[in-house]
Symmetry: C2
C-alpha cells in the first residue's frame, strides 16, 4: 500500500508560484539546474518539514521539469511522499549504503541523478555557502564539465516577501507564541525551578491554541538572574527567587513558520535600572514600528530605534532585527543602519531589541511584524510591559 498524501498547509498553486519565482531567477542567470540543499528552502518549495537534513539530501529544480525532484535517504522517502506537494514519482530514496560510509554519501546519489539529466554540461546552481568544502569538491570532480553558479541565499531572498497565505500561518504561530508567554506569566513564581517553568511553556507551544497545534519544537531561551546578560542559554537548574529577572525569547511554530517574541519578567518590583532601559526600549520600538512602511529601508527602521534610544541615554550594539519566516531567522535583510533593503508589503521581520548591556545585566523585548500596504502590523497581542510577578 502506498503512503497517503498528508494534508497540505498550502494549495498547489502556492508552491508553483514559489517555484516560478525561482525558475525566473534561474533563467535570468542561465542556469539549467538548481540543487537546493538549505532545509528551510526545501520546506518553502515543497511543504516538507521532516527532520532528515542531518544526512545529505537535495531538491533538484530543473527548468525542463514542471515539478522538482527530491533525493533523500530511502528511510525518509515516505515522509517526503506524505508531506511534499509533488507527485510521489518525484521523490527518490537513495540506498543505505551511502550512510555511515567513509567513501561516499548521499550527494553521490544526487550528482548521479543530475548527471542522468544530461545537463551536466550546462550551468548548475548551488547553495554553496551552506555546502562543505568537501561536497563542493565532490561536485566539481563528479560534474567536471558543469559551470557552478552560486545561488547561496537566492531562494532565501525570494522568501522575504510572504504571500497572504504565509502571513495567515505566521499569525497562527504568533497566537501560539502569545499563549506561551501568558503561560510563563502564570508559572513563573519564586521557588519554581527554571526547567519546570520551561517544561510548562514549551508544552503550551507544542499544544498550540485555537485548535492549531505547534508543529515543531520551538526555539526557546529562558535567561534568568544571574544570567540576564546571556542570550542563548535554554534554561538552568536554578529556582526563581524574589528579585529575579527573567528574559524570555521563544517562537511558536506552524508548518515551519515561526513568530518570535521576547519579553522581560521581574519577580517583585523592577529595579530603576531595568525600568529606565525598558522605557527607552519601548520608545525606540514604537519609533521603529512607526517608520516601518513601504518605501522606507531596513536601515531607516534601525535608525529610528537607535536615535530614539540614544535620546534616552542608551546605545544598542547589535542590530535591531532580521527577516523571519521558516525556521526563524532568514539570513537576508537586517534591521541594521545602512541596510538598503526597501520595505514592501508582506515582508516580515523580528524587531529584536534584546540588549545585553553588561556582564550582569541584560533586557529583552521584541515584536514580529509584517509590513502592510501603509504601515507595520505586529503579530503579538501582548502589551509591551515588564511582566511583574
Amino acid at each position: 500500500m502506498a503512503m497517503p498524501k498528508g494534508p497540505q498547509p498550502f494549495p498547489r498553486a502556492e508552491y508553483t508560484r514559489r517555484l516560478s519565482a525561482v525558475k525566473l531567477e534561474m533563467e535570468r542567470r542561465e542556469t539549467d539546474v538548481l540543487m537546493v540543499t538549505n532545509p528551510s528552502n526545501i520546506t518553502y518549495l515543497t511543504g516538507y518539514t521532516a527532520k532528515s537534513g542531518y544526512v545529505p539530501q537535495a531538491l533538484v529544480v530543473s527548468l525542463k521539469e514542471d515539478e522538482p525532484t527530491f533525493i533523500t535517504r530511502r528511510m525518509d522517502a515516505p515522509a517526503a511522499v506524505h508531506q511534499m506537494f509533488m507527485d510521489s514519482t518525484q521523490i527518490i530514496g537513495y540506498s543505505e549504503n551511502l550512510v555511515g560510509n567513509p567513501e561516499m554519501d548521499g550527494f553521490d546519489a544526487v550528482l548521479d541523478f543530475i548527471n542522468d539529466l544530461n545537463l551536466a554540461r550546462g550551468r548548475l546552481g548551488l547553495e554553496a555557502k551552506s555546502l562543505s568544502a568537501q561536497t563542493v569538491q565532490k561536485i566539481k570532480s563528479k560534474l567536471p564539465d558543469a559551470t557552478v553558479v552560486d545561488f547561496s541565499n537566492c531562494v532565501t531572498w525570494i522568501r522575504l516577501i510572504k504571500s497572504d497565505l504565509e502571513i495567515e500561518v505566521m499569525k497562527e504561530a504568533a497566537a501560539i507564541t502569545d499563549a506561551g508567554m501568558l503561560r510563563a506569566k502564570e508559572i513563573i513564581r519564586p521557588g519554581v525551578r527554571e526547567s519546570d517553568a520551561a517544561a510548562e511553556i514549551i508544552a503550551t507551544l507544542v499544544r498550540g491554541i485555537n485548535g492549531k497545534p505547534g508543529t515543531y519544537l520551538p526555539g526557546f531561551f529562558l535567561c534568568a538572574s544571574p544570567r540576564s546578560a546571556t542570550a542563548h542559554i535554554p534554561w538552568s537548574e536554578d529556582v526563581f527567587r524574589n528579585g529575579s529577572q527573567i528574559n524570555l525569547e521563544f517562537g511558536g511554530q506552524r508548518h515551519g513558520y515561526v513568530s518570535a517574541l521576547m519579553r522581560t519578567f521581574s519577580i517583585g518590583k523592577p529595579s530603576d535600572r531595568l525600568r529606565r532601559i525598558h522605557e527607552a526600549e519601548v520608545a525606540g520600538l514604537e519609533a521603529a514600528l512607526a517608520t516601518a512602511k513601504p518605501g522606507a529601508s531596513c536601515g531607516d527602521v534601525a535608525a529610528a530605534f537607535n536615535s530614539t534610544f540614544k535620546k534616552h541615554g542608551f546605545v544598542k550594539e547589535s542590530r535591531c532585527g532580521y527577516a523571519i519566516g521558516i525556521d526563524w531567522l532568514e539570513p537576508t535583510a537586517s534591521l541594521k543602519e545602512g541596510d538598503p533593503t526597501v520595505l514592501q508589503p508582506n515582508m516580515t521581520f523580528h524587531l529584536m531589541l534584546g540588549n545585553w548591556v553588561d556582564e550582569d545585566f541584560g533586557y529583552v523585548i521584541s515584536e514580529t511584524f509584517r509590513v502592510t500596504d501603509r504601515d507595520a502590523e505586529a503579530f503579538s497581542n501582548l502589551p509591551r510591559v515588564i511582566f511583574e510577578i
Copy 2:
C-alpha cells in the same frame, strides 16, 4: 559586576584530560593550532551548551597554551564565561559589525586572533568537513602561509570512549528518557491528538526526574498510523484511533549528553504482522547485545543482529546503530557490517533497530548501551515489548 561561573557538570581535571588527548593528536600531526568549530566538540572540550553556533564561533586550541580560547559573538561571551571551565580571559567577544555583514563575518575575528598567535606559518588544524567552502577559502586567503591539516571528526573520535563521569551523565539522561516513555504510555489514548501527547512527553523530558532536569529540547519523533513508515516527522495534527500504531523515538538530555530510545505502541491488539517483526527484532537486539563486548567489532554486533533477524525471515536495510553522546549521533563508528571499530569499555552506542519496511508499515525498537569490561549494559530499564494501550 562580572558574570559568575555557573555550576560545572564536570571537574576541571575532566576537561584537561580531554584537551590532553586532543593535544596529543595535534602533536602527532605536527599541528600548532586547532580551530574547533563543531558545536558538540566545543561542548566536549569546555562544557559550553548555549546555542550560539548559528553564527561563526571557534574554540582555538594551541599547543603553547594551557587553556583554549573561545571566540564568539560579543552577546554570547557572558554565557561562555558562565558555562566554560576556562578562565574568563580565555573568552573573546567579537564585534556586532561582523553579524549580518555581507563582507565579513565572525571567522574574520577568529582568523585575526590566530594570526596574532604568530603561528600562521605553521600547521593549522581545521574541522574542514563541517566548514563551508567559502570559509575554507577565507582561511586560505587570510592565512596564506599556513598549511591546513584536516582534523574533521578527530575530536569526535576522541569522544567515542566515555569517562565514568560521562557515563553517569548519560545514565541521568536515560532515566529522563524512560520517564518520557512511561508518560507516553499514560497519555496515548484513542481520541487524543498527537500534538497533545507530544506536549506531555516533551514536558516530562524537560522537567526530568530524580531532581535532574533535562537541559535542552530533546530530539523527538512520534510517527503514528498512517505514518508508521516514516522516521523523522516530529508529530502531526491527527488524533490517535483504535488500531493506531505509534512509533516513538526520543532522548532525554543532560549537559548535552543524550540517551536515545525507541519503542512501538499499539492501541488495541498488535496485528500479526507487527507481532512477527517485533519478535524477530527483539531476538536480533538480544543477539547484538550479547555480542557487544570488548574485542568484538562494530561489524560483529551488526552481523549478530542481521543473522538472527534473517533466521526470522526479515532483513533490515539501514545500519543497526551508531556511536552516541553529545547532541545524539556521533558520526564515527557505525554498528554496520564491515565496520572494523573494535569495542572498548565505555564506548556508547544507540543500537537503533528502526525498520521502515514498506510505505505503509514501519516498526521501531532501540537501546542505548555502553560496553563494559566484559559485556554490554543497556541504559534503559524499560521492557522490550510493544506497549499495548
